[in-house]
Amino acid sequence: MPNTLDAPVATAQMLIRKPVAQVFEALVNPAITSHFWFSKSSGPLEVGKQVRWDWEMYGHHTTVDVKAIEDNKRILIEWNGPEKPSFVEWTFEPKGKDQTFVTVRNWGFTGEANEVVSEAINSTGGFSFVLAALKAYLEHGIELNLVLDHAPDSLVQGWASRHAVA
């Protein structure tokens, strides 16, 4: 995937000090993922399935088509279709028995050059938040609420009082 002005690729990487099976599970099992990323999912990630992810705090959702899953190695999805479909791929590389190097790539943005660059930059930031949140959750058992705290002015009205954060 060449990183050109016309086709920029968003990339985020993180070393997580947990075994690869545990890190992989955290992304296919929404009961775990919802502790650090989206707030609700219609089901687990399985090849050929379509699921919906909700970020209820922002009143936002997306549709996810699961294209490929290799246990403990790779997840490929297409999301944000049909208006703005793009591909997201996670790869999981074991580093010894107890650590995992995770790489996320998001590509296939469409629109004017400025628009695709802006989407790639936003996506890079977004997935960097996700990987840091994943690391904090798996290594330390902490919910950093990075997503919730990203845009506090855009939260659904009443969310903050329902879920006291201060």
Partner: protein
Amino acid sequence: MEEVEVNVQDRILRPVSEVFAAIIDPAKMSGYFISRATGPMKQGAEIEWNFDDVGARLSVEVKTIEENRLIMFDWSASGTKARVTMRLEPRGNNATLVTINEASWPMDAAGVERALEQTAGWTDFLCCLKAFVQHGINLRLGRGKEDHQTAGA
């Protein structure tokens, strides 16, 4: 020519004074980002940040410091000189909205590459800062090459 820049933000559930101190005081910053610095961030100071985990050393020219509000410096982490502006905005008594801007690079393939890398870097910085001041943990630990080699030991 058009330019490209980086903007990241998140809210930290601590007062502005605490967040500000965690950035300008190297004894605190070494708890989540750098390994060490040659001095604190003071207006007009030229300091050096060391990152032992990745074997890097970067010069930082501190341009402006406004207590609990603004930290502005120049550095060349992206490979060319760029200006970093961090703004702290109180949200109630116990929370701070932190915004970080780094600017700018030409809107070409190399400039976009730099902006993408700096976006990942600053997002990670903000996450590590939040984890440090809210929870007292070092989220940067375990990133270095040596850590990879000794994995599982």
